[in-house]
């Protein structure tokens, strides 16, 4: 995948792409995240697992800024993005999918990809956006087409998303995130609602991403088979705290992890 530099100096001296530094979040009296830290290197797939209610989705929301963290820093490719709005972080290279789908109702999968790609490539001038005519360019068409093929969405490309199955909806979200050519791709339970072949497609896509060595991915997933297959690093979140972190095999063998998440086997 091609990496796009948007006219800012990329500090690629370090290979760390995403750094999450002691993020805290409380809702009322309830502490959801109690100082979570981790970092993801270029070309790395980072698996985030943990029991339901551990704070995984809240962590994703804090990383992208959908919910502001109470304290802590989010550093994207050497740049502190903690105070930035969501769209700014997205335009700097974060993309995510949602556990509960956030699709553009009324639009088709193709339109999802076209609008995402247009947003990704725009030059930022609002007046140009305002009068810029809407017919997609040949390049935009081709990009959308190839993303549709990659995620197996060609057959439903022109069907409004409301009519699609949950699994197809997830793939549309993935394709929409993927077409943004993100440096950090965050996926919230990508395999739920998918069949085995579709899950395989996602694993392939992630393996390609690792092979390219330019971007990284963070995935929240309950399908441990898939996580161990694609993720090089795994962290286990329980009640808002990281209880283990490291190579997949070692972490899953950790007795504490087995107690809170896997159950004794």
């Amino acid at each position: 995948m091609e990496q796009h530099d948007r006219g800012r100096t990329v500090t690629s001296g370090t290979s760390t792409l995403l750094e999450v530094d002691s993020v805290y979040k409380r809702f009322g009296g309830l502490e959801i995240l109690g100082g979570v830290s981790f970092s993801v290197e270029r070309g790395e797939i980072f698996g985030l697992v943990g029991p339901n209610g551990a704070g995984k989705t809240t962590l994703f929301n804090c990383i992208l800024g959908i919910i502001p963290a109470d304290s802590g820093r989010i550093i994207l490719d050497g740049e502190d993005v903690s105070r930035m709005p969501v769209w700014k972080r997205a335009s700097l290279g974060m993309a995510r999918t949602f556990q509960r789908l956030e699709l553009f109702s009324g639009m088709t999968p193709r339109e999802h990809l076209l609008v995402a790609y247009r947003v990704h490539k725009r030059n930022g001038s609002i007046f140009r956006d305002l009068i810029g005519h809407g017919i997609p360019t040949r390049e935009e068409q081709e990009r959308a087409e190839s993303a549709l093929e990659l995620f197996g969405l060609v057959d439903v490309a022109d069907t409004p998303v409301e009519v699609l199955s949950l699994g197809h909806g997830r793939l549309v979200e993935l394709a929409r995130a993927f077409i943004l050519e993100p440096s950090v791709l965050m996926m919230d339970e990508p395999s739920s609602g998918l069949d085995a072949a579709e899950t395989g497609r996602i694993s392939d896509m992630l393996n390609n991403l690792r092979g390219s060595g330019r971007s990284c991915a963070v995935i929240v997933e309950h399908d441990l088979d898939m996580v161990t297959k694609v993720a090089s690093q795994i962290a286990v979140l329980n009640a808002g705290k990281m209880i283990a972190q490291g190579a997949a095999r070692e972490v899953l063998a950790d007795p504490e992890v087995r107690r809170v998440y896997l159950g004794t086997v």
Binding site: W87, E162, A177
Partner: protein, 645 residues
Amino acid sequence: MSQFVAFALPGVPLGCVFALMGAGLVLTYRASGVFNLAFGAQAYASALIFYVSINNGWPKWAAAILAIAVVSPGLGLLLDRVIFRYTRTANQFVKLVPALGLLIVLPSAVQMIFGDQTRLSPPSLLLDPSRVYLRVAGFAVNGTELSTSVITVLAVAFLWGILKFTRLGLEMRSVVESPKLAQLHGIRSDLVGADAWILSSLFAGLAGVLLAPLYAQLSSLNFTDLLIAAIACGALGSFVSLPLTLIGGVLMGIFQELISGYMPSGSLISSGIPSAFPFIILFGLLIAMPRFRIRREVSDPMANCEPPQPCMESPRRPTLVFVGSRVVAAVLALAFGVSVLTWIPSNWVFTLCLGVAYSIIFLSIVLLTGMSGQISLAQATFAGIGAFTAGQLAIHFGLSVIAGTIVGGLIAAVAGILLAFPTLRLGGIALALSTLGFALVLSDVIFPLSWAGNGGSGITIPRPQLGAISLEGNRSFMILAIVVLVVISVAVALIRSGTVGRELAAIRGSEVGAESIGINTRRLRLLTMALAAGIAGIGGAIYGSLEGSVSSNDFNYEISLIFVVVVATVGVRTISGAIEAGLAYAVLSQLISTLPSRYASLLAFLFGLAALTYVRHPEGVVGYVKRSVLDISESTLSRLRRGAA
């Protein structure tokens, strides 16, 4: 101190009525998810029935039972069965439009049924209004004040008890979250929703009958104005807490009376501020309270098991049907243009030109609501800003009206930005309410000032002069109006098909999703609000110049509400919808003005009634008819082809 008490005391019964209506609103909102803007209209209807039946010689208790316990709950049940049971899982705009329609329909319906004569000194429900029952710190409390306060406190306590401690209250709360999930737990969602409407309508009836004697005359305006105060006290309780609503209502009543007591009398501002006070409070609350910064509406987790809503975008048609419909539209437009310039009598050209001016204003609603999904109830206010600017510039600086129209549009756009900044974080109903607050403050406080709209007497706006060509005549002015309409329509069409239009469509689909792909939603909201306000301002200036003189009554908040209802009814998604809505509104109001005065509100009634169908036909009535015509021609065409083959 004694003066303070003298000012504050009359505020208590007034505040109690605020609270009573606020409690009814909170109940409907909590138990059915609908923000019932028609609550005041419901209250008015039952107050009127109470009044009329007493005048017909009914005993007071029988009239009270009829108005409060029979007609009002019956109406609530009817509304739930016919309209609101279909809106339970719908988005806020779909819930709002029928409520707005109702707000317009109810007063005009009762006016047509019972006549439009003035009704003085409405009767009091319980105690004698002229007798002093007790004295507080030396000040007399009469029967109306006493009974209003006591009944309110009792009624709110009763309601609070129901919601808090009974099984029905618990079921009502679950049905709002998800009617389907509630059903899975053995709750009859439909029945519970209907119960909520019956109960809240009972409250509306009670509030209406209690409220009526506080005013010298029974008028629907008193009731709809009170609604904003009621919303403000509901907001004090975050639309959840009934005790806070009660306290908020009483405090607000007291403050309002204090302000009008201590305000120097005589000036225009001093008469505007007290009545605008609740709107200012509401606006401030909406902006300041984090609870209203909702980014997404709570959605029913079971919503997916409903069949999907029909897609709004027109489906792709066969080339022949597509081209055919375009040719028909072009021929109609051409015929319209030629007719206006040749054979149509001048007074009808004036009416059609009014329609063109409305169309321009309505395009702002298409841009804002149809394209970006924001709800503004202040578009007539922006039109007023444009008209008054053009008029004042022409009067004081001799500026040409055409230039004045452009400046008016710009100033309206600036006002739009000023409104958009504090409300950027608000979504759905909170945004709609804050624009309503803005509209009320402007039309009550700013527009009456001599440098703005000059109160009820208004200002004059001349017809423009284009170089040596005078646009004094209706026909020549019509040409100018059509040119402006075409230019703005093309601009809106370009925006819709351009990058911004696609981004707006994405935001309408999912705001969180849109931000997550890098769309700057705040910038786009500011932009659309400013553009829509500017377009409305230009339309307003054209309207003013056509009419020759305008006053603040031409642009008050009720006009804004009617505008939204008219556009939603005819078609809020398309540019042609705005134009059809404008022409239909102007022509129908001209036709209805020839009827007897009792039917003056027939137009509002018709559009309000049509808005009630919005739930079924969100593309608008005309849009629905057009789609059906195209569907039929498409199937006929394919049948003919098959026959030929």
